[in-house]
Each structure stands twice: as structure tokens, then as C-alpha cells.
């Protein structure tokens, strides 16, 4: 028997037991955590959508349309252009609206304002609104995400 035994039988069994308990805990908790994590892929990926009819929007008005799961906004600017943005405020996710009097895009939540290029004019939003491409195809106004 060797005199300098650095691993006694007791210590060995003890660490075996501890390791076993830990492994058991892990094996129990891991599936639970995974179970709680939302299922991916349920969200549809939409890259283009018919947002409106060509003559639907009067000058200096806007409408909200569905862009997949999220709202988008199509604006007919006072200059007669059609522009489209994500209607999700870059601050905290509220849905923006068009303020016809001032011709700006306005977020009611914390008074954020964007100009008609989606740039922030005032308020807390940190980034401009994501802008989309607008094409007219026949009668439809097609809004699409710039392909990356």
C-alpha cells in the first residue's frame, strides 16, 4: 500500500456522489429550460407585400399596413411621393402614426418625431425608422424590404 495516498476511497466516493447529483440536476434543468424557450420558425418571413391601391391614399395622408407580423406605414407625402417605413418606433416599439398637420411621423408613446425620410427629428428614438422600397405594379403599391 502506498503511504502517500492523495485520493482516499472516501474522498473519491464523495466526489463521485457530488458529481452524480450535479449531473442529475443538469439533466433535469436543461430540458426544462429548453422547454421554456420559445419555438423558433413560427414567424413568417415576408419580404414584400401589396400595401395599398395606387389611388387609395390622398396626398398628405398615410396608412398602416401589415408587413408580416409587424405594422408598416405607407405615406403619401405632401410632395406627392409614396414612401414606406416600418411603423415600429425605434425607441420602445410603439406603433407610429402620421401627423397630417405637421407632416411628420409621430410616436404617441414618448412623443418621438420622424421626418418623411424616417430620420429622427426630436424625442427619444435612437435610430431612424427602417425604410422600405416602394414600387407601383399595376394598381398595387408594392412595398418590399431592401434585399440584403
Amino acid at each position: 500500500m502506498c503511504p502517500k495516498q492523495f485520493l482516499t476511497r472516501r474522498a473519491f466516493l464523495r466526489s463521485l456522489l457530488k458529481g452524480g447529483v450535479l449531473a442529475l440536476l443538469g439533466a433535469t434543468l436543461y430540458p426544462i429550460l429548453r422547454y421554456l424557450y420559445p419555438v423558433k420558425g413560427a414567424e413568417s418571413v415576408v419580404t414584400s407585400v401589396a400595401a395599398a391601391k395606387v389611388d387609395e391614399l390622398a396626398v398628405n395622408t398615410a396608412k398602416i399596413f401589415r408587413f408580416g407580423n409587424r405594422p408598416g406605414m405607407l405615406v403619401h407625402t405632401p410632395q406627392g411621393e409614396l414612401k414606406a417605413f416600418s411603423a415600429v418606433c425605434t425607441h420602445l416599439n410603439c406603433t407610429v402614426q402620421y401627423d397630417e398637420d405637421a407632416s411628420v411621423i409621430w410616436c404617441a408613446c414618448h412623443n418621438g418625431k420622424f421626418d418623411l425620410n424616417g430620420q429622427v427629428i426630436s424625442g427619444p428614438p435612437p435610430k431612424p425608422l427602417e425604410s422600405y422600397q416602394v414600387n407601383v405594379r399595376g394598381d398595387d403599391v408594392i412595398v418590399s424590404k431592401a434585399s440584403v
Binding site: P38, F65, H91, C94, T95, Q97, C107, A108, P124
Partner: protein
Amino acid sequence: MKLFAGLRAFFRERYQLGALADLATHKTVPLHRHTFWYYWGGMTLLLIGIQFASGVLLLLYYRPSAQEAFESVRFIMTKVQFGWLVRSVHAWAAHLVIFCAMIHLASTFFLKAYRPPRELTWVTGVLLFFVLLGLGFTGYLLPRNTLAFFATKVGTEIAGVVPIVGPIVQMMLRGGSDVTDVTLTRFFWLHIAVLPLALLGVVGLHLVMIQLQGMSKPLSVKTDRAMPFFPHFFLRDLVGWAVVLGVVLCISVYWPATLGTKADPFAPTPAGIAPEWYFLWMFQTLKLFPSHVLGLEGELVAVALTGVAGLVVLLVPWLDRPARQGRTHWLVWAAGLIGMTYVVGMTGYALWIGHHP
């Protein structure tokens, strides 16, 4: 009476009820000019009970799906007999329970009841308060009206601001990257299963600790005057409870909870979106915060500060060093006062702005 005596004998023979009875008879409540504040914990407890009872009743008709949630609450309020009352009680008691818990928390702070050996009673109390806030937050979405829907969007977005863990927490809460049907299911699950269980556990611990250690006496009180908990204080507690129950019923009858309009995820967020009043101070802080502070995103700084504030509150028993040695220090008192003034002031300001846009 005979029946009662018989029952009592039956249980006494079989279980060690003596120990329990001893606890109740030996427990005393210190009598001094601050005794009034001792009632607020009991009132919070009663309101929690009311929430369990009214919540169980609501569960009979409520349907947790995006298509049916709003309609089912409307059904409860318009078709079910006394449904309006049950929902109003649940809604009002939710406000009151947080209000009472706040008062209880503040009075415990200023009376320094968290001094050793009661640190953990304070910690469980603060955790309890956080669970109540969680219940308020998750319950707010359940009727799925416009106000709740957008407030939840904003609320969960704030959670996402925190680096690294934020996006995970946000994803877990929302059940995806947006507030959708899945979010409602998750909030429902939290509101009726996870958080109530947590609440029961923490309330249990909190009460056991108080039973074991007895009530704390403020440092300034030198007398040993006290009254027995049972029946003296208990009966007074009951009077308080009767008052609270009466208040809840009166408010619910005269100002029944409203439902608002059904949320449309594809409509602009209307003006005046606000969270429940107890989150208003945070909401207002966020609103006033510049979008960038020292090169960091404003929200991040605001959220970080709130997180730190929460942690400080949790650790008060250890941070207040003088109190650990049985002394009071004006700095602690001032810090508490400033914190409280800030929260009350911001809440008031937000309410005022809400009415005078």
C-alpha cells in the same frame, strides 16, 4: 360550543397543537406611538387573499387567447351575474395590495425593522413586493385591450435593453420577437401559476420568520409596553380587514373597472399609453431621459439605474451599517426620503402630464 370543544379535543389528542397555540399566545405586539404601522402588513395579506379568491372566480370564464381574451372579459362584465363586481374587485384590490405593500415597505424602512436579526424578513418582504409587481404587470395584459397591449410592448421592450440577459428575458416573456398570442399565453401562465406559487412560498417564509422572531421595535422606543397578539391585536387586525374589505367593495361598486377597446396590433399606438400607476415613475424617468448619456443609450442608463435601486432596496439591512450597531444615522433617513420623494414626485408628475397633455 360543545361541538367546538369536542373538535378541539379531537385535534389536540392527535396533533401537537399546543406548540402552535403557545406561539400565538406568547406573541406580543409592542405598544408605542408607531404601532399603527404594524397593521399594514396584515392588510396586505388580506388583499392577497382577496386576489386569490377573486382570481380563482375569474378563471372560470376567462379565456387566454388573443381572439377570445377581450370578449371573455367583456362576457364576464356584461353577461355573468355579478361578473362586473368580481372583476372590479380583482382590479381594485390589485391596486390596493401594491399600495399597502408600499406603505408597509416604507414604514418598515423608516422604523428600521430590518435590523439584525430580521434582515431576511426584509429580504423576503422586498421579494414579495417584486412578485406583486410581476403579478400586476402580467395581469395587466390579460384583458388584451389597447392600453394593455401597447403598455406590454413597451414594458417588454424595456426588458430587452439590458445587455446580454435582456434579449433572452424579453424573448422568454414574449414567446417570440413580438408581442403576440404567444405572449398572452405566457403572461397567463405566469399570472395564474408561476407567480402565485412564488407568492405563496415567499409569503409563507415571511410570516414564519415574523412568528419566530416576534415584532421589531423601533430604536427610539424605550418602553416595553406590549399587547398580546391573540386576541388583542388580532381583533384589531380584523377591524382593519373589515375596513379594507368595505373599501374594496365600495370602490368596486361605485367605480367599476373599465375594459377599454380591443387591442388592434395594426393600429397606431394612441396617445396616453401608460403602464399601471406603480410603474409610472419608471415610465416618466424613461420619458425624460435623453436618448444618449455619455455615449450610452439613454434607456440603458435609466434601466440600469432602476436595477441598482432595486438591488439597494434589497440590501438595505446590510447597507445601513449604523443600524446594525443600534444607531440611527441621518444619511440613511435622508436617502430613504429622497428615494421616496423621487418615486412619489415622478408618479405625480406623470399623472399630471397625463391629464394636461
